[in-house]
Symmetry: C2
Subunit: 529 residues, 2 copies
Amino acid sequence: MLNITRRQFLTYVGAAGGSSALLKTSLAMGIMPDEAYSGPVKVKPVATGNKPSVVILGAGIAGLATALELERAGFHCTIIEASHRAGGRNLTVRHGDKIDEMGNTQICNFDKAENLYFKCGPARIPGHHRRLLHYCRALGVPLQIKANSCKLAYFHDDKAFGGKPVRQIEYHADVRGLMSELVWKSAQSNQYDQLMSEEDVAKLVKFAQLHGDLTDAGKYVGTERAGSVTERMLEFPQPHAPIELKAMLDSSFWHGGLLGAELYDWCEPLMEPTGGMDAVVKGFLRHLKNPPVLKAQVKKIYNREGGVEVTYEREGKFHTLQADYCFNNIPAYFMGGIENNFSSVYQAGLDSIKRGHLFKIAYQMKERFWEKEGIYGGISYTADPIAQLWYPSHDIHAPKGILLGAYTWDPKVSAKFETMSPSERLIAGALSGEKIHPGFSQYIENGISIPWARMNHQMGCGMHMSPEDWDKYFAVLQQPEGRHFMIGDQISHHSGWQEGALASSEQALQQLNKLLSVNLSHGELSHVA
Amino acid sequence: MLNITRRQFLTYVGAAGGSSALLKTSLAMGIMPDEAYSGPVKVKPVATGNKPSVVILGAGIAGLATALELERAGFHCTIIEASHRAGGRNLTVRHGDKIDEMGNTQICNFDKAENLYFKCGPARIPGHHRRLLHYCRALGVPLQIKANSCKLAYFHDDKAFGGKPVRQIEYHADVRGLMSELVWKSAQSNQYDQLMSEEDVAKLVKFAQLHGDLTDAGKYVGTERAGSVTERMLEFPQPHAPIELKAMLDSSFWHGGLLGAELYDWCEPLMEPTGGMDAVVKGFLRHLKNPPVLKAQVKKIYNREGGVEVTYEREGKFHTLQADYCFNNIPAYFMGGIENNFSSVYQAGLDSIKRGHLFKIAYQMKERFWEKEGIYGGISYTADPIAQLWYPSHDIHAPKGILLGAYTWDPKVSAKFETMSPSERLIAGALSGEKIHPGFSQYIENGISIPWARMNHQMGCGMHMSPEDWDKYFAVLQQPEGRHFMIGDQISHHSGWQEGALASSEQALQQLNKLLSVNLSHGELSHVA
């Protein structure tokens, strides 16, 4: 502070009605920002020398977070993981890494470079995913902004605009212009007179004009907000001719493309860990006392008197663990193949969770050709099966880059890719890429694909339940069965998101706290401090 | 590539009608992406052993770029700079740096840390500023994505919504919903039947429904696109109640806030050099043969036979330089005070350029409290004089951060701050900050402000001309007067942007090339290779 102490400063602000005065007013008005997140559930700590044991099935994000919180409370945790690695669908592949697709093991042959990576699973974090952001902070996972939306990227549909890719900024500006023009027309012809006062109609007309960048006569004739056909640094800007309303209505981007970036989980700015999403997994592993037991496949889960018994197979041998509690992160549709003694309603609930068919392709591109088109991150949307092209927004101007060449979760569309060989997928993706960026294929050095529904130990991504099953079973699965708790994004309203996985863990730990209190009051559990 | 060579791959793609076939089709359709930028003007190289001399007045971005290109062509360049530093309005201040305000020298007392900085001038780069991006690439200036828009940041106006800050995502979603509802209503009551076919009206209704997230009855009742009042990870989302149309029309965010992020120069994603915008200046300086002569004030500029004569004062002494050419980056409104022999129309043109009044405040905050509200970068807009709050999007989750506490270029608003002392500005800014973030002042550790219209050697930022003067003089100033070329963002349609400065340099160098050709054809200049 210049020529003023901090104390003086706060006094001035207070005297002028700032700070605490304002704070009180705001509280009274109920306008305080959303209640601050207070961090993960604190599990009741156990008494010293009395370590209850927990077995956690699956080293996905929910399993790792559950283990961390329980270890902090003094529990002894063993994580059993079927795959060769921890992280579940939080998978980032680099040079030499394996995509463990059934029957089609793929090895990533990107150049050997830390920053040439493919985020096979989760890839972005919005500012309101407070649980995940808490862990990034607490575990020392560095974050950077990820450009999820690029106004200069394209919309493409063979059937719209003569198959020409359209810059999103033009489409967006034209939608706004054309809609505003319609509102203007209706307002001018007294269409809204019964809805609002004359004064408000006048404001609405002005609003429509500004919103759509209409002429004084209420016409939309294009806008320099979407760029210019002239060299605008040295000449007056001249807008592009707008898309015709009819062509706009015939196009397919009303939902996916136009609104894609408008959904709450994709609200800007989005973030990503610097160096790849697996930094989150590494962060958990750094802080866990016991590393997960890998390549260990669960065969039996039995609720027993006062505990859970889990049998798993590892390197051809069977092992049986007795634990006080079990947290189960295994995809629910695998549970039918795992011996258990759950109630029939609980089993039916597990069976009601269906596999998701998320599919991605990543290409190593020898040049970042998109940057020459002004595209520095974001997504082009297409009606072709690849659905999306994602441009990397880290390592700007580096010689090479990993371009996401397909990203679809429509089961019908993904099914097409699932039945192809890895090479066929790359060719199919390249053909669609060519429509958006002519010459696309020439830049491809190598590529890799991930059909999550064919992945060993996962067999899906983006689980879902029918609305009827949801009503019937979701609440059942949110509760423990004996001392067995289901966790994972599958037990949340946010399947496919790490935040959903963390919410499920939070929920299960809250249930555990309840159970501990109940048991305590019955004098059953002596291990609680 | 897996089980397939690159050559095979391209053959497959070609056979399937991809690559070259598609490329040709695309070219025929005229849909190729914008012509790739081919880099800066190549100045005709000079013959070996024959170095023409150039004097460049002002070490702003235009001056530095001009010097670099001329040095590459073999010219000998001397840059004369009045200030104690190079960069002009590209100024990034950190601990101990000076803001050279007339009569109010301020020293920055941020903590001593490379990443606690204040970008006093330019702060963001869109993907279509191809000249600046070229230099970032060529000079090795690392770039990162800068979050310019944050949907979770606020709109605030004492006079709207009872003075309550509104999350932008709610305002945006509600504008879209309310406008769509109006279009739906008009479409249903046959308002558009004369404009389009029945079939298109049906599409329009569907479009409005999706665009605005309307109910099946065409009502806008809020949308989960703007978040939820429930814990959406564990419960079904429940939208916030929408803003009333009347309240929306009474609010002041139609232009500044709502459309701010929609202007072409702010189209996402935006970028910034890692570590501060002055990395651009440092990049130029690293590549220039002759560093600028600092603290040297130009007093006279004379066009002479076959050259330009410049006199400057440094440390009380006068120096006169003879040069073959002069590129002049000095703010044009200073030219009235510099002796010259320019034509009266050229002088009148220079006089017609008026000062801009851009003003900024930056606070060092002891905590990044905004991150707790889900805000990771972007801008809150307010009707208060501070106009904008910018949240840093680098160093996410760091202990401290520099928050931009005011950013205004309205001369009337800036004038209020210009007449205040630096401390008074900080207090005024804090009072406005309190309205958006109760408790704001408590986080302030220190602060600094920059009223560009009071800065030594600049006296303004964001120059402008009246439309009449523009018509009369802009073309005059785009041409050289003798061997004197005006440059700087002031000689572009993009004052206040580095891209405008670079465009002016490009333009001047094109003029120089013309001059060299003409002179060459007359056999006058032997120094051209």
